[in-house]
Symmetry: C2
Subunit: 247 residues, 2 copies
Amino acid sequence: MSDAKAATLNTRIRADISERILSGAWPPGHRIPFEHELMVQYGCSRMTVNKALAPLAESGLLVRRKRAGTFVSRPRIHSVVLDIPDIAAEVSGRGETYGYDLLSRKVRQATRREVEELDLSAPGPIVVLRCLHRAGGRPFALEERLINLESVPEAQAVDFARTAPGSWLLGHVPWTEAEHRISAANVERATAQVLGIEATAACLVLQRRTWRGTDKITHVRLIFPGDAYDLVARFAPSPGAPPRPTA
Amino acid sequence: MSDAKAATLNTRIRADISERILSGAWPPGHRIPFEHELMVQYGCSRMTVNKALAPLAESGLLVRRKRAGTFVSRPRIHSVVLDIPDIAAEVSGRGETYGYDLLSRKVRQATRREVEELDLSAPGPIVVLRCLHRAGGRPFALEERLINLESVPEAQAVDFARTAPGSWLLGHVPWTEAEHRISAANVERATAQVLGIEATAACLVLQRRTWRGTDKITHVRLIFPGDAYDLVARFAPSPGAPPRPTA
DNA sequence: CGGTTCGTTATGTCTATACAATATCGCGAC
DNA sequence: GTCGCGATATTGTATAGACATAACGAACCG
C-alpha cells in the first residue's frame, strides 16, 4: 500500500503494530509493549495509544488482558467480508443489460417447509414469489422469495411485476439481522429449464433470512447457474479502515 | 436486546443510535444530532460522543461531513462476515472424527494454469499437493494445493503426509492478503470418485489465494460435495459484538 | 455580476488527568 | 507445600480543554 497519506499518530501506531504482526516479527502469543511504553515510544498520551489499540483488539488481531498486557492473538480463523450485491447492480456492473420477470406470485398460508425457512413459530399468511433475473437476455438467477405478511402487511398490495422484491424490501423494510447460507446443489428439472441449463449442471445457491428484532421478514433463495457467478471476497488486513458490519 | 448490562456510556450511545437507524426512525440521509447536542443530551463530554460515533461511521452506518454534520448512510450492499474454518476444526466441531490423507505430492515447475492461479509473474518451482479430508470415515473435501517455493522454500522439506498443508502454512507463514472465491461446479469423474459421489453431483468449490506483501504464497482449491457443507454467515448489526475480518 | 477571502461551524485528533475494574503476583497463614 | 488474600500493575472509561481541518456562506472587491 502506498499510503503516502495523512498519517495521524493514531494511524501510525496501528500501522506499525499490525505490520509487525503480519510480517511475523511479533508471532501469535507475543506480548506487545504496554500502553505506557508505547506512549513513551511515540511521545504521546496513553489515550492516544489506547484509541489506536482498541480497534485492533476489537478486530481480533490483539487480545488484551488487564494486569497482564496486550498479546498477539493466535486463532487464525479465516474470516472474510463478502459483499452480496444487488443483482441488478451486479449485472449492470458487468456491462450487461439487466432484465427482470415475475414468474408467479401467490398469497397463502405458509406450508410446513416455509414455516421453517422463515423461522416462523406457526403457519401464517405469506407472499410467495418466483422471479427470474436476466443478464443480457440470458437467465442469470432464479429467485424464490417468501415474505411474511404478519411483519410486512404492505407487501400484499404490491404486485412485484416490475420491481424485484429485493429492491422493494430494501427500500421499505429495515432489518436488523440476516443469516446467509451458501451451498451448491443440483436443481429440479423444471428449475433447470427456467435457467436454461442442463439438469445435471451444478448451481450456486444463496439463501438469506432477515429479521427485524424478533419479527421474521423474508426468506430468499437465489439460484445461480454454476458458471454464471462467483462470489468473491477479498481481505486485506490493512491497518486503516477495518471493514466491519457495525459497532 | 436483553443484554443485561455493562452499559458504558459509549455503548449506550452507540446502541441508541444504531437502534434508531435500524428501526427506521432515522431514515437514510437523516442528519443526526450534532456531537454538541448529544453531549448535552447524554451529559457527557464531546470526546465520549466522538468515540461512540467514530466506529459507527467506520462501519458504514453513518457518514460524517465536516461543517455539515453526521448523516445516516444508505446501506445498499449486503456485507456479511463469513468464517471459513479450518477443516479439521469444522469436522470435529460436528462431533465426527477427522481424517486426513495425502494423495499425491509433487515438486515441479508451475504450468501456465498454475502460474495464473498463484498469480506468479513467471513459472517457478512449486509444490503441488492433493489431499483428502475425511469426516467419520467418509470423504469430506478434496484439497488441491499449490505452494510457491520461491516465497516458501521450507515447504520443499515437508512431506505433508500427516499434517494438512493448511495447518502447516498457518503456523509457518504469515500472510497479509487473501482472496476467496466461492462457486459451484460439476467435477471430473476422477474427482467424483475420490469424493465418493455421483459424477453429476454439484460441488461447492472454495478457492483461496494468499499473499505476503507482493509475494505469492499459496493457492488452494477445496471441493466439497454439495450435500456435505454449507457456508453460513450471520450478520447482526447490533451494537454488541462486532464480528470482523482479521488475520 | 463573478470571483475571492474570510469567518463560522462542525468534525478530527490529541493531551493530561482521574478513577474504576480486574487479573496476576507474591506474601503470609495454616 | 498450598491455600487465600491483599497489593499492584495494566487496561477500560471518562473528562475538559486545545488546536487542526474542512466546508459552507456571506461579505467584499474587481
